[in-house]
């Protein structure tokens, strides 16, 4: 099928994009890489009257060093994230998760910010962003505001973004020298995660000093596995301690699905085991 008719607008600045969004009303859609949106348009699951393409906003592309954090432009493609040395050095969890997104063709077009704003709970970048305590930098008609990841993901495909707001950058606190791993279970190539676990740990002198764990597709939003984190901190980085902590991975989730809860525990154990040796 082909998409329903729409008007196509290609703003050349963030301010112009915000004006276009405000003028178009709630029926407008923002086009980033289009790797989720265009299939949805083609299947006519959505039929916006206006599409606002951000591809000319080059200021939203790239990864910048901002002291204690990285600033990742919303229009940075997955392919660019995969190859960025700052991400390799300071946000390995993001690197690990990005490597598993869809397939190479999709990673060439799909964007970091687009995935987050789309907010599919099975999307692979939401749990790492939540686990890393990232902050969304958002622009709207009344200026800019910052929203922590924990408040950004509201429900299935729903974020804190208002219809006339735009995600500009994501501030990701550096976790330099941490071990990290993204463990994902999907049935066939390029399928969405049934469940996945994002884990980053700081190990010092054989003991776990800090831990961050996020769960993919264990609810309508990504979920932080706080019980696992609390159980890990101060423990030796041993299989026993990791397995004991991983047992608590499904605590606080509400999917009500034994299979997925079991997956969360098993994948959490694998993710942590890889993370402490990474």
């Amino acid at each position: 099928m082909i998409p329903a008719e729409f008007d196509y607008q290609c703003p050349s600045s963030v301010d112009e994009a915000i004006r276009m969004l405000a003028d178009a009303g709630e029926d407008a859609k923002v086009l980033a890489g289009g790797q989720s949106l265009i299939p949805v348009l083609r299947m006519r699951l959505a039929a916006p009257s206006v599409l606002i393409d951000l591809s000319a906003l080059t200021e939203l592309t790239g990864v910048r060093d901002d002291g204690d954090s990285l600033l990742i432009g919303a229009m940075t493609t997955h392919y660019e994230v995969q190859r960025d040395h700052l991400v390799h050095e300071h946000a390995r969890l993001l690197f690990a998760a990005t490597n598993t997104v869809a397939d190479p063709q999709v990673r060439h077009r799909g964007t970091f910010g687009g995935s987050l704003a789309h907010a599919d709970p099975a999307g692979d970048l939401l749990a790492p962003v939540l686990a890393l305590d990232a902050v969304m930098i958002i622009a709207g008609p009344n200026g800019r505001r910052e929203v922590p990841a924990a408040e950004f993901f509201v429900d299935y495909f729903t974020t804190a973004l208002a219809p006339d707001e735009l995600l500009l950058d994501v501030r990701v606190p550096k976790c330099s020298g941490w071990g990290a791993h993204y463990e994902k279970l999907n049935r066939v190539a390029q399928a969405w995660s049934i469940v996945a676990v994002a884990a980053a740990v700081q190990v010092s002198g054989g003991a776990i000093t800090q831990a961050r764990v996020g769960l993919t597709n264990m609810g309508s939003t990504p979920v932080r596995a706080r019980a696992v984190e609390d159980a890990l901190v101060g423990q030796p980085a041993t299989p026993e301690a990791i397995n004991a902590a991983a047992e608590r991975a499904a605590e606080g989730t509400s999917v009500g699905d034994d299979y997925k809860e079991n997956l969360a525990r098993v994948l959490c154990g694998r993710a942590l085991t890889s993370a402490v040796t990474a």
Binding site: P3, D53, Q105, H108
Partner: protein
């Protein structure tokens, strides 16, 4: 909307509806039917082309998004009547059964060899993750990609496939 796109080394200027998909522009407007549509879900990768040297699924790109960019399709690979080394390798290794996935497989294989000039079995399979062969003929496809990588080493890359207008014009004048 007016667009100007360089496709297989030739610039095309056209008026298109914003909702027109790149794959439909290539097939229906330019007659480049070598790029095929295999699914309606963005899964199969049969419509893979290169946009500025990187593989994309042309069913998931709007024609207007290609405005001002370079597109290479399977039809732009052969040079002076000679197949591209990846096409040669697919032929030599019998890496096709029904052949429908082949254009996309070849375009993605070129991309993956550009990123990894000497891919092992696992890297080939991972690199072709976005391309489905309904005949399940993957064994020979993996062999062909490794053979192609061998034929193209060292230093295969997106530049190797770029066809310039001059080269093409020369070919038309001087070739048979």
């Amino acid at each position: 909307m007016h667009i100007s796109v360089n496709v297989d080394g030739v610039r095309h200027a056209d008026e298109v509806e914003p909702r027109m998909l790149l794959v439909h522009y290539l097939r229906e407007r330019l007659g480049k039917t070598g790029t095929v549509v295999g699914c309606d879900t963005s899964n199969c990768g049969a419509c893979t082309v290169h946009l500025d040297g990187h593989s994309v699924k042309s069913c998931s790109v709007l024609a207007v998004q290609a405005n001002g960019h370079d597109i290479t399709t399977i039809e732009g690979l052969a040079r002076d009547g000679k197949l591209h080394p990846v096409q040669e390798a697919f032929h030599a290794n019998h890496a096709l059964q029904c052949g429908f996935c082949t254009p996309g497989m070849i375009m993605q294989a070129i991309d993956l060899i550009a990123d990894d000039p000497s891919p092992d079995d696992e890297a080939v399979r991972k690199g072709l993750e976005g391309n489905l062969c309904r005949c399940t003929g993957y064994q020979n496809i993996v062999r062909a990609v490794q053979d192609a990588a061998h034929r193209m080493r060292p230093g295969a890359g997106p530049d190797a496939e770029r066809v310039q207008d001059e080269a093409r014009a020369h070919h038309v004048v001087g070739g048979e």
